[in-house]
Point group: D2
Chain length 389, copies 4
């Protein structure tokens, strides 16, 4: 099952780490630490092998991929020996990277993106291509009347307006090209009625939003802990200090607001009430590709006794995100192969702001995910229970 | 369903907080924060009401209960207004507290304890009495040949040897008196083949071990988080600083060792490997009834990138433990009423070192617990699905 | 040496704690923990005794002082037993509290304040009155031409404009009444050329600004540590979570900005360069009178090796500030008695943003302070070296 | 002023980092971050230039220095580019490394060490050689009658007993060879009456003990902060998690005890009382050359209000220690040139357990150190105030 992984933002830190890691796994130069699809509860015949993944993508910047990989190696994100060991493989991916599509109207640009995707699929004789958005976080999209309906959307895209934010234009192009779409960022992506309708029309699944890689991951186990123990969380305050490109981008207040809202959602939905406190994101260039988050939780126990917990998380977002990008590509490819259409709510495990928001408890999300994988494997051609190929 | 709650260590901080809290709940002076049996997923007709709980117990010390309650109020563990509002209720419980049973042989002391339990049950016309051990942690018990068989045990108890540690002698007495037994401490309690056989013989359930109230509670959600994300935990080191009576007791190296072993178990069993690092317990008198735990976790992600997390937990063990003692009494009473016999493995949610160790993941333990409660409620006389009384 | 301590904001948490503490010290009900003027290096004959301090003040609110004291006792800031033991003493202070002065023009209000101060001094036959501003932080003051000169200022105050912010109007009134003035807040206070000139004219000392009670106190020893070790601080980020009245007030962005600027100053001035990172102040009502600050410092060592330090400070600002208010009143009274005029730069030890900013290193500030105290004591009438009375 | 730096434990992490750093400074490939002797308050004509330092040393292990340097580069302690840039310089130092001296008696071994030192000095035409012990921490030394007097010591060393621990035997050899000796470890070193007498006899200075590089450095500024504010420290607990060779060595309880005692001394001597709490050292191999220390301080403020502070220090001991080793070599060489004899108490700034323990406050130690340096520079031949050469 040859599967294309088309990365929007393909020269960014997350994408570059995903690509180097995917190539290293294919070459048996690294193990799958951080890849949840390699855990016993998830792996199986429905998933494309790492060796079957082919990488391509769009980016607005043009720094060569190997330079980006070397920079990440210098920053301690990936081992330099892997970059040194994979020059031909990286050069082959470089061949499949394209600049951001250009054109006079958004329709023109979408058409160019569709051609890029179709060309990629054809050149590599791929069974399917999964488009994954790992580009920088956008400000919240402005509403537009054409967002509600595919026909209205098509018409509006041919006009002079910026109808869709970039993430949604990529989602539109992916769906038009017959490709499932996953949004790893908090951007709008496929979350518009018109795009949902288009996905259904084309029989395509989509997934998102906002990869859960650090502070929110921890929240998604700690908040249920307080809830299961019937402890009253009084305040939950957090600060995220981050460098790197994402940090600089999030220093923009509009993007910051989108991200912060996504980060606090887990609390209200898990606890059933919103505790006091805010989450802050601050840019500290010196932290580079690493992020330090500090959270303070104050809570009341039996008879009102006041207690507190704090945690510090010092993680490398790219190293945490990259294996999940591979996981999402594999699972979404399998879902597409199995005929799944519309939002993949079972992928909530991966996201801060999951589609359909079935639950924000990591453990419940895990149960959904493993059930989803079992069903895919049971139905897979290579499975004992599966249909004949 | 009038239910006795007989506390071994009845004048200790945990017991006193349980008693004050139970009386306050009965008088509608406090809410059930921290009581998991009041959560929607657990409450129901099988459980005795707080108003149906009657307290009694043993203790080696003789400080009046109201003095202990006042001391806890001064220390910020319970509100002084509750102690002031419940003088008659506390005096009534005081009437039901007994010194540690005396006698020449362990058999004599067990018989005295049986008489205490039976008298308590009779005086209050109780449907049943649940014995809960909340006394100080013992050193690990020395093996004895008579531990394997009830008959051998009975014979040995009449001899001059100290055959059983105190916690097990109380378990023996409880079972002989027809009472379910729960061990909230890491002590041996009912965990001997002879006592298991005796419980089965008498048709009694038992539960334990070692209430999960702080650092280990957090571990039981964080360790599964790392496992579910396929992140490689390289080291997990912890230090617990605690004052109060428990702290002084745990400064004794033998008791400390029993507790530490119980605290680290969750990691190996959840992760499937034992990371580097130890857990330490140190006595710091100034912390009083509060405990500060600090844990450092180092882990490797995709392609080996090194990351770290640390947390500080500042909790009041008595305030965290007391509502769980009430929960365990209610659930164990319901299990007894439903005819359950032997180890209550479904209570793993409450314990650091659960009987049968079905799992150390808090989320999986929660699933077991809610299933257990649902079954009890479905079978309860007051339930729509229940059998006629 | 009978000394009046006139508190602007006399019913606030800091003032109430200062008053209760001062009365408790006078009554020998409490020790001087937190009072630096009781350390061997500072105490001596030049300082008025605690028993010689008489309290009065202004406030815009009217809650009785004993109610405020009880509220602070409930919040764990001061012991309830002290409040209960001092009803008459608190009632006597209550008699000396006045509403904020009223009048049509700022000149009228200043004249009313002067009358309040003179009346207080006369009624209690005080040698002098020190005015200490502990009211809520103001936004930065708008410049006004009359700020540069006492005559222009006097003229302008009689007009319709709000020429001075409240803190400076109190400073003006204090100086006009012949009273030294100390600003414990970051507000403008006496920091205007016109007020400096007035102080010189009247032969009065003044002090400030912004009591150093928590995170900045720690910074003032850690920043010199990094500097003395020639370690390169790359970033220093901080977040301050605070409840209470001060927290709500600082949630106002303008007041927040004034405070934050004061908090970061220590770094640039101590290190000689400004590291990356910001300090944040967030309001979390649940923290009540306590404040939690978290700081992350990243630094480079020999050959560029990257390292980090973080700290959490959980302090009660009122309990930290109140003894310093007493210290400042004593030291400023002694300076006035010794004939000191103008800014008391030797009091830098107490302030985030010291007048004259001689240094931000706590150790150097300590050396200045002890030298100052030694000189005062040497010149004091009761001293072996002092002049005859 | 050509100065030899003879390192005992010359292939260890601290020594290797010192050597690579010293060579890099000489070659202008790195700046002096972390070297306090390059701060404006300390630098001057009395100190040998980095270019005048020549390295040699003893070690029991034989791993080539360049291998050790490469290992440290892999571990992130030193930049790989420096190791790659200095192959000839490292090879030249390799020529000057010697195995631990051998011989039948301690006298024989000391004589061999003296020959090594004299040969080094002669080959390089050095004005002097400073011996710095950076080898692994020893258990506390057993008392021996011969420790009190140089003659008795000389006699005993020729006998069969192990009269001196290794660190003291090196100190003895250094002094016999006419070399000043500095102990960067908590081992006994020159701290024996016989060795002090010998130093005086030979007109040599010596320094120590136990480089202050992490948790204790922080303590030496925080403890004075609490003292200067008259805050009552109730408990101070610390845990040090460390990997690397030093960690493994300190896992040995005897060595651990020596270190822990040294670490807690600063508190009692600075505060004037010993707060509750202990310092722990645990070995966590995964931390490699980095160390994480966590400290919790609980303290009482005005009227007894309880507060707390905690900090985490994540440092690289070798990177923190190495520049101080160069500093100590430079300062001790200058002291020797100036004719100083006996313990260099002015070097307290560098040590956890300073000779003569003049003070444990970092700020006071800084004042001593800068005064010491000023005096050396004033007397230096190159100085305006100095004597003619």
């Amino acid at each position: 099952m040859r599967t294309g992984v088309w990365l929007v933002g393909a020269r960014g830190s997350v994408a570059t780490t995903s690509i180097v890691g995917g190539l290293a796994l294919r070459a048996n130069l690294a193990g799958p630490t951080g890849c949840v699809t390699e855990l016993p509860d998830l792996r199986g015949p429905a998933l494309p092998a790492f060796a079957d993944l082919v990488f391509g993508g769009h980016d607005v910047v043009t720094t060569p991929l190997c330079k980006r990989a070397e920079a990440l190696a210098s920053a301690g994100v990936i081992p330099g020996r892997l970059v040194a060991a994979l020059p031909d493989e990286l050069a082959a991916v470089e061949e499949e990277l394209r600049p951001a599509p250009s054109g006079d109207t958004q329709a023109d640009r979408a058409a160019a993106a569709v051609r890029d995707l179709a060309g990629f699929r054809d050149r590599h004789d791929l069974d399917r291509v999964v488009v994954v958005n790992v580009s920088a976080t956008e400000p919240a999209a402005r509403p537009h009347a054409a967002h509600s309906d595919p026909e209205a959307l098509r018409a509006a895209l041919s006009g002079p307006d910026e109808v869709l934010p970039a993430s949604s234009l990529y989602a539109y192009a992916a769906l038009e090209a017959g490709c499932p779409y996953v949004d790893f960022t908090p951007s709008t992506g496929a979350r518009l009625p018109a795009l949902h309708a288009l996905a259904v029309e084309r029989g395509l699944p989509y997934g998102g939003h906002d990869g859960k890689t650090g502070e929110t991951l921890v929240k998604s186990v700690l908040a249920p802990m307080f809830a299961m123990r019937n402890l009253a969380v009084r305040s939950w305050s957090g600060v995220n200090l981050l460098g790197g490109g994402d940090g600089a981008n999030l220093a923009d207040p509009a993007a910051n607001a989108a991200k912060v809202e996504s980060k606090q959602r887990v609390l209200g939905e898990t606890l059933g009430y919103v505790p006091q406190g805010d989450t802050r994101i601050d840019f500290v260039e010196d932290l580079g590709d690493f992020k330090t988050a500090w959270d303070l939780v104050t809570f009341a126990g039996f008879l009102g006794t006041r207690m507190r917990m704090e945690f510090t998380w010092h993680g490398c977002d790219s190293a945490l995100a990259a294996p999940l990008v591979l996981d999402l590509a594999r699972l979404t490819a399998a879902a597409h192969a199995a005929g799944r259409v519309g939002p993949l709510t079972e992928l909530a495990f991966f996201f801060k702001d999951p589609l359909g928001a079935p639950t924000h408890s990591l453990a419940e999300q895990w149960a959904l995910l493993t059930g989803f994988a079992r069903a895919l494997h049971a139905a897979a051609p290579g499975s004992a229970d599966g249909h004949a190929a």
